[in-house]
């Protein structure tokens, strides 16, 4: 029997780009769909009963990880870009 489970994440915590990154890492054999309302993303997982919890846990872990990444990026992303630009400029000068 196929079961459905839904993971909901606030758009405040998770951007669209992070949602896309999560979908990138979802294994091919997991059947998912996405939906949204004004303030939330929804990832709908449909699987046989025996697999649903495992699939849910895997995707939930991805969601949590990307929420953490967003949290780090909100404080450091501008620095990351600056550091990479500085490094490449430095190489260009050395060249």
């Amino acid at each position: 029997m196929l079961l459905k489970k839904v993971i909901t994440a606030s758009k405040k915590d998770l951007s669209e780009i992070s949602l896309r990154k999560i979908l990138y890492w979802v294994e091919e054999n997991i059947n998912i769909a996405t939906n949204e309302d004004e303030s939330h993303w929804m990832i709908i997982i449909e699987s046989p009963e025996s697999e649903i919890d495992s699939h849910f846990n895997k995707i939930n872990k991805l969601v949590n990880d990307f929420i953490l990444r967003e949290k780090i990026a909100s404080e450091t992303e501008h620095l990351r870009k600056k550091i990479i630009n500085n490094a490449l400029n430095r190489l260009a000068v050395d060249d």
């Binding site: 990154k21 990138y24 890492w25 979802v26 294994e27 091919e28 872990k61 990880d65 953490l68 990444r69 949290k71 780090i72 990026a73 404080e75 450091t76 992303e77 620095l79 990351r80 600056k82 550091i83 990479i84 500085n86 490094a87 490449l88 430095r90 190489l91 050395d94």
Partner: protein
């Protein structure tokens, strides 16, 4: 206390712990509770030692030092990229594609012994040496690959003699990657006198080795082990190293894969998973496995190696990359190691940026993989348009799937692998066997190093060798 600010970092959960890393190539292994304190900026709650470590490794900085820390990290990142782009030291020469083995996993790098037109002409030797002189710095390792390179022994002999004269100002090393089939007493004597290193293959006990590496002409296991014993007895000065290619059959018995290494007195071994080059789907089904299956096997092999004082070279390459920032392993380079990691002079006269490129060319005949011809001017190789095309998307800090990965400062892009397996130079990392293997390898190395005192001790011993 001065206010602290976070600097950018990536993270990876390893069981219950976390590994964080940054663009300076630094890392910190931490408990989940400490990781959460960092995320929540509860720095005062951290143990002072952990706090000091995070500051010294540029994960955190006093706010008034932000500009300085940015410069330090940028400089370290630039050095890492620069190291990846430094001139190659490994030059592979393929004297012939003919081979006396019919290895199951080597379908594109060999032809039968009586095949015509698969030997590299001796007239190319001077030009190859010219390329090596132009492309190299002080250290030069010339590795003869095949086929079975010793089938064209006269080429090797002439090449070594000419290279020793023409490249006498370089620090030269020669390696012959051989299955030892055609070796004679005369050849062994010459190898000893010329101080040539032999790189051989042992895939396990007789049943495993001969199943993976059959020969129509002789019992490969018996021949290999007899010659190794002869060399050990009569020419102990000859350096011998061996590697194991893991097939589905090997997975069944890690003990029997490692047994010959112990019996033959090796001090190190090199375990490598199968490569996908030129494999038909049904061959992969017969010989292949998942990354999970490989790592169940690999972890057991590593345990046995540690218990028997053997160095496992694949783990050591990763340790060197993590702790010494070594850029010597072609697979673990970003930008990728194509040309800047190794150069391959094929029997056909074509020049490739890696051994894998020449194997892929054999099955696809994609001219985009060729960086030039032995008869071309050496400087044209470096400006070849194909090289730019292959390398331009191999800065993994910017690649999808890699940009968020905590291992991206230690890992590599390997565009040829992804071109071969997925038809795309960047590749979809969520489906990449290369990515699965590397991810698990780094997980294993970090976890063992930081949570197992025996491994911590052994890995540190390996790192100082």
């Amino acid at each position: 206390m001065t206010n602290l600010a976070k600097l950018p970092f990536n993270f990876k959960r390893i069981n219950k712990d976390y590994l964080i890393s940054n663009l300076a190539g630094q890392h910190q292994f931490m408990k989940e509770e400490d990781f959460i304190k960092v995320i929540d900026s509860d720095f005062c709650e951290l143990d002072p030692k952990i706090l000091a470590s995070l500051e010294s490794k540029s994960f955190l900085t006093p706010e008034n030092q932000l500009g300085l820390r940015e410069k330090i990290i940028s400089s370290r990142l630039a050095t890492r990229i620069y190291d990846s782009l430094s001139p190659p030291s490994l030059f592979m020469v393929v004297p012939t594609l003919r081979c006396d083995h019919d290895c199951n996993y080597c379908q594109v790098s060999r032809v039968d012994m009586d095949a015509q037109g698969y030997d590299l002409d001796e007239e190319h030797i001077d030009n190859i040496i010219k390329h090596i002189r132009f492309l190299s710095r002080e250290f030069v390792k010339i590795e003869f690959q095949g086929g079975e390179p010793l089938v064209n022994f006269l080429f090797i002999k002439k090449f070594v003699s000419k290279a020793k004269t023409a490249l006498k100002d370089k620090k030269l090393n020669f390696v012959i990657a051989t299955a030892l089939g055609p070796i004679t007493d005369e050849i062994i004597k010459w190898i000893s006198s010329e101080k040539i290193h032999l790189s051989i293959s042992i895939d396990g006990i007789e049943s495993i080795h001969n199943s993976n590496r059959p020969s129509k002409l002789f019992n490969s296991f018996k021949n290999t082990t007899q010659i190794i014993r002869k060399i050990r007895d009569s020419y102990p000065d000859i350096q011998l190293s061996a590697l194991t290619t893991v097939t589905k059959l090997s997975l069944t018995s890690p003990e029997n894969v490692i047994k010959p290494y112990i019996d033959l007195g090796f001090k190190e071994l090199f375990i490598r998973p199968l490569s996908p080059y030129g494999f038909a789907v049904d061959t992969w089904k017969k010989l292949g496995y998942t990354a999970e299956e490989f790592f169940i096997f690999y972890e057991k092999v590593l345990d046995i190696a540690i218990d028997n004082d053997l160095i496992e070279y694949s783990a050591l390459l990763h340790l060197n990359r993590i702790f010494k920032r070594s850029a010597s392993h072609v697979d673990l380079k970003s930008p990728a190691g194509v040309l800047f990691g190794a150069v391959c002079f094929d029997y056909s006269g074509n020049i490739f940026g890696s051994d894998e490129s020449r194997m892929l060319y054999k099955t696809t005949e994609s001219k985009e993989l060729i960086l030039g011809h032995i008869s071309d001017s050496p400087k044209d190789i470096c400006t070849n348009e194909n090289l730019t095309t292959i390398l331009k998307d191999t800065f993994i800090e910017l690649n999808p799937g890699c940009c968020d990965c905590a291992y991206n400062q230690f890992c590599g892009a390997d565009p040829i692998y992804h071109l071969s397996s997925q038809g795309d130079l960047i590749g979809d990392k969520s489906k990449s066997f290369f990515c699965q293997i590397e991810m698990k390898m780094f997980d294993l190395i970090f976890e063992k190093y930081y949570t197992n005192s025996n491994y911590f001790k052994k890995f540190n011993e390996w790192l100082v060798i």
